[in-house]
């Protein structure tokens, strides 16, 4: 399946494939996917070593994330959940900044305020992620309403999971988008699990995409393991959005290969066999096979790439680890642009703690 549009007013139609996926771009996509997987594996092991505090892996979702990110323009806005490390990378976040955030050091663009995975980078219109499920969805629609008013020809794109379709903000956000026909692309990465809850127990609709029809929004189911399919569906949705055609809900069918996060033990609720079966359609393996098949890639280059990326990742992490910690006094910054007298007082109180030998972080 390469992008079946479930239009609320009619039967599903097959989408055509977009033409701009040159071998060059496919190789580029492949590199991003392999880089993401490399970061993912590295972070899982760093967490086990106690060198970062937490990690939520994206393995299995590389094509969905990279395919979406590549189909967008730099001026588009991203409203991510917490699992979109690959999107942050494709948008141009340097590896070092990713690790700065994971550590929460002095170079972290968010000043060490957030758990790992919760990036923000304004220059890339990558909005600060939060942990509460779904909240980014209405915000993406609000930003799109703002863009409509400014007549900026951009789209806002929001990522969320299958579980998030049950959230208040999914309902509110899609409804607003339908009513105001905002230029928004809703990308639901259906990885089949919300921690331990399987997709079938999340909701009784046959697909998640068809939930769009409750809001007059076309829904598209795509094979999220197929980079072309994702890229095509998002490109179409983007085109429709910027030409005034309104929002699209895309359901990318993927599978979460790893644990929900480093705090999770998936064997409590699913079998290794299930996971192994899903891994047969590993999005990276699929794209690699296609590239090799068409003569655009080979095993030697692949080994080289992997080696290079691993080294880059290792170097970048070590630099981030060596960076200075955040300044403790920054605790009181950014609550407001100008601190209130109460915050100033607390900052002074905090400064006075030091001489008394209280613990400094």
């Amino acid at each position: 399946m390469t992008g079946a549009i479930a239009d609320p007013s009619g039967p599903t139609v097959e989408s055509t494939e977009v033409a701009d996926l040159t071998p060059e771009r496919l190789r580029d996509a492949y590199r991003w996917m392999v880089l993401s997987r490399t970061v993912d594996e590295r972070c899982l092991s760093l967490q086990r070593q106690g060198r970062i505090g937490f990690y939520a892996p994206l393995a299995g979702q590389e094509a969905a994330q990279v395919g979406t990110a590549l189909a967008l323009k730099p001026e588009d806005w991203i409203f991510p959940a917490y699992r979109e490390v690959a999107v942050a990378l494709v948008r141009g976040t340097p590896l070092g900044r990713v690790f700065d955030q994971m550590i929460g050091n002095a170079f972290d663009t968010s000043k060490g305020r957030q758990m790992p995975n919760h990036f923000a980078w304004r220059d890339q219109h990558y909005v600060s992620a939060s942990s509460p499920i779904g909240t980014q969805i209405t915000q993406a629609v609000g930003a799109a309403m703002a863009a409509q008013r400014r007549r900026d020809g951009i789209v806002t794109v929001t990522f969320f999971g299958d579980g998030a379709t049950s959230s208040n903000d999914f309902h509110a956000g899609l409804n607003l988008a339908g009513v105001f026909q905002t230029p928004t692309v809703f990308v639901c990465q259906n990885n089949q699990w919300a921690i331990s809850l399987p997709r079938e127990q999340q909701t009784r609709s046959a697909t998640l995409a068809e939930k769009g029809s409750a809001y007059g929004i076309p829904g598209v189911v795509v094979d999220g393991n197929n980079l072309r399919a994702v890229y095509t569906a998002v490109s179409e949705a983007r085109r429709r959005a910027v030409s005034g055609g309104g929002p699209t809900l895309i359901e990318a069918l993927v599978y979460r290969f790893g644990p929900h996060s480093t705090s999770d033990d998936p064997r409590r609720y699913r079998t290794d066999q299930q996971v192994a079966a899903a891994k047969e359609r590993d999005p990276i393996a699929l794209l690699r096979a296609e590239l090799i098949e068409s003569g655009d890639w080979d095993a030697a280059r692949d080994a080289q790439l992997l080696e290079r990326l691993r080294a880059e990742v290792a170097t970048a992490f070590e630099a981030s680890e060596a960076a200075p910690p955040v300044d403790p006094a920054s605790l009181f910054d950014d609550v407001f642009l100008t601190p209130t007298p109460r915050l100033e007082e607390e900052r002074r109180e905090f400064a006075e703690r030091e001489p008394m030998g209280g613990p400094r972080p």
Partner: protein
């Protein structure tokens, strides 16, 4: 200067803000074509059109979530919640998102949003058209909380809120929307945040109030004067930031404090005020600090006058306080 009711002053403030800055817009339920269920947004739709005065579906989650998204993008939305009692469907967006965006993004994504809501009792609104839950917002780091008690402050604090680069919860005491009138400066009138208003000078006891309780507090002061008790009345105007300087100066002078609010007593804003006095005015205090508040029950319908503080209950507490020490 123009003589206006409080709700008219809010309306003038909204007009003024939207004329000043094309990035300001208004969204909410029934705010456009209908002009707001209290008429606060009357005339805006006609002057500024559907692009800047947006009638939304019935979803507070959507209203606040969208307002945040607009602000992230660079606009300055003013979101109306029809009654404060109906803000809770949006509570997650308010406490998890609006209040924390600037902080969590290391200053990259501020939220220039004003959330307006009529609040408070005395209009026979029962449980769900009467509540005063300002303490929820004052307790939430990252939110400012402003509450006018006069038409001039309604406009002046609102314009300050709209120009504030951070989120402001702007609570309008609906009970006095039309019950008070006063002179309101024309044009760009602003009242700074964090400056309490001295309603009446006095020496024996300070009555602290805000919103619709300023009136009864002033009434109480009047009654007390007749008995020879000189009560100072301070209108806090903003709970965050709080004008501790004025608060402490007053209690240093009077040595006694009575705190008034409509909200339930337990963990109401009066508790914070009392705690500030216990920390910082301890040696000036001559008597226990009294709280005259709503009771720790849901807001009732038939018995709302029994629930609410009034001039008499405030005066009673002040007398007891003055007698105590």
């Amino acid at each position: 200067m123009t003589e206006l009711t409080l709700v008219q002053a809010v309306n003038r403030g909204l007009h003024e803000a939207m004329r000043q800055d094309p990035e300001v817009l208004v969204l909410g339920e029934d705010v456009g074509v209908n002009g707001g269920v209290f008429r606060a947004t009357e005339g805006l739709y006609k002057e500024f059109g559907a692009d800047r005065v947006i009638d939304t579906p019935l979803s507070e989650t959507g209203i606040i979530g969208a307002a945040i998204g607009m602000a992230l993008y660079g606009l300055k939305p003013i979101a109306e919640i029809q009654f404060l009692d109906f803000i809770y469907p949006a509570f997650d967006q308010i406490v998890s998102e609006l209040a924390k965006f600037r902080y969590r993004s290391g200053g990259q994504y501020p939220c220039h949003v004003v959330v307006r809501a009529p609040y408070g009792g005395g209009v026979k609104g029962g449980l769900y058209h009467s509540q005063s839950t300002e303490a929820y917002f004052a307790h939430t780091a990252g939110l400012k909380v402003a509450i006018p008690s006069t038409p001039a402050d309604a406009k002046g604090l609102l314009l300050t809120a709209v120009h504030d680069p951070d989120p402001v919860i702007f609570l309008e005491p609906k009970r006095i929307y039309r019950a008070v009138t006063g002179e309101v400066p024309d044009g760009d009138h602003r009242v700074p945040f964090g400056q309490a208003r001295l309603v009446r000078e006095g020496n024996d006891v300070t009555l602290f109030a805000y919103g619709a309780m300023v009136g009864p507090a002033a009434e109480a002061a009047e009654a007390l004067a007749a008995e020879g008790i000189s009560a100072e009345v301070l209108d806090l105007r903003t709970l965050v930031p709080l004008d501790e300087r004025a608060i402490l100066a007053s209690v240093e002078k009077t040595g006694r404090a009575v705190i008034v609010h409509e909200a339930a007593r337990t963990c109401g804003f009066g508790a914070e005020l009392s705690a500030v006095l216990a920390e910082k005015a301890f040696y000036s205090l001559r008597a226990p600090v009294a709280r005259v508040t709503g009771y720790d029950t849901p807001f009732p319908y038939a018995l709302e006058q029994a629930y609410l503080p009034n001039g008499e209950t405030i005066a009673h507490a002040a007398r007891t306080t003055v007698r105590a020490g």
